[in-house]
Symmetry: C2
Amino acid sequence: MNALLLSNSRGPDGAYLVHALDAIRALTPSGGQSQTEALFVPFAGVTMTWDDYAAKVAAALAPAHVSLRSVHTFASDAEAQAAIAKTQLIVVGGGNTFQLLAQCRSRGFVEAIRQAVRGGARYLGWSAGANLACPTISTTNDMPIVDPQGFGALDLVDFQINPHYTNALPAGHQGETRNQRIEEYLAANPQSTVLGLPEGDWLQVAERAVTLRGPHEAVWFAHGAAPRALTSGEAVPGAAR
Amino acid sequence: MNALLLSNSRGPDGAYLVHALDAIRALTPSGGQSQTEALFVPFAGVTMTWDDYAAKVAAALAPAHVSLRSVHTFASDAEAQAAIAKTQLIVVGGGNTFQLLAQCRSRGFVEAIRQAVRGGARYLGWSAGANLACPTISTTNDMPIVDPQGFGALDLVDFQINPHYTNALPAGHQGETRNQRIEEYLAANPQSTVLGLPEGDWLQVAERAVTLRGPHEAVWFAHGAAPRALTSGEAVPGAAR
């Protein structure tokens, strides 16, 4: 399996997908030297149209010679599923994880994408798109605006990702910290593990190996163990399926 | 219907449930003058035992002459349901909203609590316990650590509450603001409305009327309308069922 799982879409300078563009080039079959036909999954977008979202991502990925077609533009979900089965690269954008999973599930895309990636298609996802690659979406930060009819997701990796990871709270705020939320997740799911992936970082998945990339330390959480910092370039304790 | 729906459990000084203690006294049948036998719902507690949680809340409510029995201490869920049907006051603590709803649903307490409150039992909830009073839990801030098998909740009021409301983000963070999250909820659920309830505030429900109480302005959100500030003492545009 070849994949990039990004915490978020922007680097510290705010430029859209630029921080990981070299890694995205390297993810394509040609290393960004020739055109890659990719499919885009826009369903995490809630307050922008899926057409607009696809156009925005297409523009951002053009420098990597990736051309996108969005899966919502096919005449039917069956046609989109057939295209997913043949594509070289699946790109899943961020936004609301619950709507992303709800749409993918109701359209039969969860199984289609899982099979495609296990069959060799590359996977690029950020934020909600990184959560979708996990066993479940249970470590998302998003508001549960729609019921996805089950939290099970693509299960491409054997651990959970918490994107946009930070343990900071707004000044004076009394809600749970992110670490407390992840501890609660692990108390309810003690067999699971969670990677807190800070903004600007991503995971590079090559075959089964998962490597942390980007400027920041990430944090690995397991039930009953102290959180453990991972440095960029370090192998993540989890693996691709 | 008589209820108090608190954003959170602590005032700015950090003292547990003290900020709303006068309102809690007024919620009891005797106005806090004589003992009220109440039932406590501890299921939002994840990293503390339900026994410990019940003891903590019992100590906090003792000055209001409220004595608590936790619903997890009955010999069976059927016995707890029977007690719920007869109680004067139901107290639902905060923590993780998904686990709270999952436990209430699997034990048959969602319908039992709804019927009890519609039949005259008082309801006191904070944080997750305020979310549970809404039509759904879709405006919680919590991590979806377990699947509650549907997001539908007690439906005691006809609007959604976002507890711990703030629009601030940690410095430098690029995740969605709370207002963006609520806008996404309304885009997906345009018939719904949301009250952003800041920490330290609560809603007083008397018959159908809902009044904002506490030190801070709250914010009312409706699809296609600008967010609207509500001042303490003001009637909330929503209503009890």
